[in-house]
Symmetry: C2
Subunit: 321 residues, 2 copies
């Protein structure tokens, strides 16, 4: 018989979850769009404790801090426990495969994964929206800004639209089948740096172009119109500035589009680049192009051919199963 | 037997059409969204001629120019005939009920109505996209800018999204049943003036809010989600500036939302104000509020309780029928 907390029956003491990589922005949707991927994914194991302790262990060798206040999963769990208001704690084991600094929502996977797993151990005490709030503390620690464009798809799965952060307003979107090719050139681009180089003001005419594209991209997803998705994958505001930080970006984009990719761009703040494709065969061709560009540039890289993850953080094991 | 032109069989010599009023922008969709209304509508009669003459007659008493080059229908027909490249001309009678300067797409109704009617008389020689191009010449004459946010819904009907003007990319959107209340306070706001007062640069953070709202408004239409439509009807960029030109605007908006309207704002560049409603009963209450505000202000007004027009310019008679 597992011990009980505060008179509530806890069905599980230990849970194992996977947390997907995510692509924020999706070209023209800066700060409002995000998408979960089936590959790569982190694995985490959480055990609930009677005492208000958070203990974090990384088994991935990325050298991330295991001090609660300096760990994105740690601060997410702190926020969750503060709202829970009953004595509880967690022992956390994190095995990341989403590389920190890749622009593929590595910090979001840790903080969202921790929040969702903890909530399962607390018998779903919190709503998904509350979990997003807790997990955003991890984003604040990682990048200085409480943003939800990686956290939301990581928790909800699929493609999510964020109308507003205050109050939180998240809308999950349907989409047609999409194959996604991602390349992570292994150079360092810090989210905080890549935010600072953005201009605080934009031309009204550019903003109009951008909101025409974002409205049409969302329409393309909902109407399952691949051509419209392709035409709308254009960013006249963020990409021209941020892409400068990513060697090979223009080549990758140009060659991939010529080879039949629907379109794509910087994943989050980079350096990863993603491309949408209608079929797997094209997605594989796109992978070859990406490999070719970075091999020629002499830059190490990882590359993924994957699909949209529809489930978000997922339970893959527990002491109950 | 009607005479033949250039060897082609012309089924009709004379045609009568209605052209709907339109609401451009729809709050957060500046320059990219527009919607056709069932009331008010203009009536036009066109007769095809063998000679390259355009003759225009207004029967509405608004004092609009009947000189081809100075009439929005005239310049639209000139552009159409130039592209037709065979000898033809039109005799045009226009009876407007959409008041010029109302912000309800009066110029668009004339130019789009003329282009569509002429095309019917030419056995649908042109595509709808081409008709939009011709009709935009009327908008250029009226406001100095070739914009399509009134022209598109006037021709296609319903709600239309414009991703881009060059090249023209128009996407018709579905929507749930919506009742629309419109008030036209009879003050003068020129489209050209109301464009000039807009700032050329906007804050990036405001632009992000705006594209979050526009993406969600479009999603609300497509998913038939009234709550999402309501939450997304917010404009942080254009409305705060333009609404200053419209007496009573803040009162109308506040009171209408309190009374249950989904939301709304300035129609095009104003001075008309529109409100979306879920049912007719609310739409009528909203009309009473609008009447009350402008009666108290001592400003003359017209008010309409109507629905979204799904057909656009419509043939209501011909010498064939």
């Amino acid at each position: 018989m597992p011990p009980r907390l505060s008179g509530k029956i806890n069905h599980m003491k230990t849970i194992k979850i996977t947390a997907p990589a995510t692509v924020a922005n999706l070209v023209c949707g800066f700060d409002i769009l995000g998408m979960a991927l089936n590959d790569p994914q982190d694995v985490m194991e959480l055990t609930i404790l009677d005492e208000p302790i958070i203990s974090i262990q990384h088994t991935d060798g990325y050298g991330l801090s295991e001090i609660t206040e300096q760990n994105v999963a740690g601060v997410a769990l702190q926020a969750l426990l503060e709202a829970y208001n009953k004595p509880a704690g967690f022992e956390v084991k994190i095995h990341k495969t989403i590389m920190p600094g890749s622009g593929l929502g590595s910090s979001a996977a840790s903080s969202a994964g921790a929040a969702v797993a903890a909530n399962k151990l607390l018998d779903n005490y919190f709503t998904n929206e509350q979990l997003v709030q807790f997990a955003m503390n991890g984003e604040k620690l990682a990048s200085g800004v409480k943003h939800a464009d990686n956290i939301s798809p990581c928790i909800y799965g699929g493609i999510t639209l964020i109308r507003s952060i205050h109050p939180l307003d998240i809308i999950p979107l349907s989409s047609p089948p999409l194959f996604v090719t991602v390349v992570h050139p292994q150079i360092e681009v810090k989210t905080s740096d890549s935010r600072q180089i953005l201009r605080k003001e934009v031309q009204l005419k550019d903003a109009i172009k951008q909101w025409g594209n974002i409205a049409c991209l969302v329409t393309g997803f909902l109407k399952e119109d691949y051509d419209l998705i392709s035409r709308s994958l254009e960013d006249v505001i963020i990409e021209p500035v941020r892409s400068i930080l990513i060697p090979g970006f223009d080549d990758v984009k140009k060659q991939c589009k010529e080879a039949g990719a629907l379109g794509g761009g910087i994943s989050g703040s980079g350096p990863s680049i993603f491309m949408f494709n209608k079929d797997e065969q094209t997605a594989i061709q796109i992978k070859n192009i990406m490999e070719d560009v970075y091999t020629k540039l002499g830059v190490d890289y990882r590359v993924y051919v994957t699909t949209v993850n529809k489930e978000g953080v997922k339970v893959v094991g527990s002491d109950e199963l």
